[in-house]
Subunit: 254 residues, 2 copies
Amino acid sequence: MIDPRTSIINSRLSGIKRIIAISSGKGGVGKSMVATAMALSFAKDGYRVGLFDLDFTGPSTHIILGIPKNLQPKEEKGLVPPIVDGLAYMSLVYFVRDNPAPMRGVDVSNALIELFSVTQWGELDLLIIDMPPGISDSVLDLVRLVKRIEFLIVTTPSMLAFEVVKKQLALLCELKLPIVGLVENMKMSDITAIPEETEKLGLKYLGEIQYDKKIEASIGNPEKLLYSDIGKALPQIKKAILDKKSVSKCRSKQ
Amino acid sequence: MIDPRTSIINSRLSGIKRIIAISSGKGGVGKSMVATAMALSFAKDGYRVGLFDLDFTGPSTHIILGIPKNLQPKEEKGLVPPIVDGLAYMSLVYFVRDNPAPMRGVDVSNALIELFSVTQWGELDLLIIDMPPGISDSVLDLVRLVKRIEFLIVTTPSMLAFEVVKKQLALLCELKLPIVGLVENMKMSDITAIPEETEKLGLKYLGEIQYDKKIEASIGNPEKLLYSDIGKALPQIKKAILDKKSVSKCRSKQ
């Protein structure tokens, strides 16, 4: 049987040209920072951009953007995302804010799918999603319903991060999900093995972002974020994303 | 009904004096590095120490220790952990190694509980557990069965990490689980709000660890790890752990 939510979700998303999920097998690699900066930067270029925080393990884009606590989506035949710094903004945090208990298994899947079903994004060039780390059951449930999601993977140069990311990539490839490519964040030294390793997997290395000691000071101040080392690295990465040919083909042998 | 596994597990663990779970609400804060260095350091001091990697989202202590791939626990009325660098060592990785698919919901709970049920630790002064990030269903299932687990929480100075960690602490407090205290890892500047914020929560600030640019070079080389900034910060933290009075009392208001 076809899940009836598939058609509702796909009609909700019909005005969106591309859906890019910023994801990482490993937590703490700066995924939310990259997702937020990228959304802001595309919006500044004149694209119509949505930012969708689905990281139920610890939503943080609202902290990065410095969104006032009383800002809420508007109910109108679904939920209309408020406009924040030029972005249509929606986050799980609106629904879990004061509850310390993380959501559980099937509740998470239902919440993610429900949010996709009710949000009125309207016309967008790009919807950037801040995904939960890893590929949990809930993420799998989601990509089964929303087949258009393209993954952009963030790693750090650390072997400990990249080993976990490689497993995630193998799984995404096995599931034949589209992967835009990989971004290397928090770089400190000049040369790492990540670009070469990425190419070996048949994936596109989209670019590197230097570790920026001052990034903490940009939290809550989106303008500063665009002038950080993340902001500086974005033009090349955005170009690779817009170049549709860049969607990577996994190597069969993994 | 009492879960029959409770008595099996508790008899398996009866020779262990203390069980310390190194945990963090947020991934990528250096939890596995701290857990491994701490286990090594206690062992060097003459304590009988076990290291138990239960981070199913991306086990990495075997990479940090540089354990050869063919090392396996010995089957003998259960599983006997091999001795690695003076530690009794057991990891989920023995059971998931070549499978890119992460384990799913109830499978994870069962795997964690099963590993606790079959592992023959024998007599130990300390069992250090590298926990998965956050408080997932599986972690909750586990702490329901093994009530003696004391939590040691790792954070970084970043507000984005600490906000997530605070939610985890609120949940641990609500569940009345013992918390040894909090370690601030990857410090770069001298003064942060973390010590004060920790005390406000009624929890013990155990100490800080400076960010060490050379830490990546110690991966696979345990001796180097002990001479890193993590190793240098450990004496104070170990002292606080051994001081049983240090187990924190959460403030009622959280």
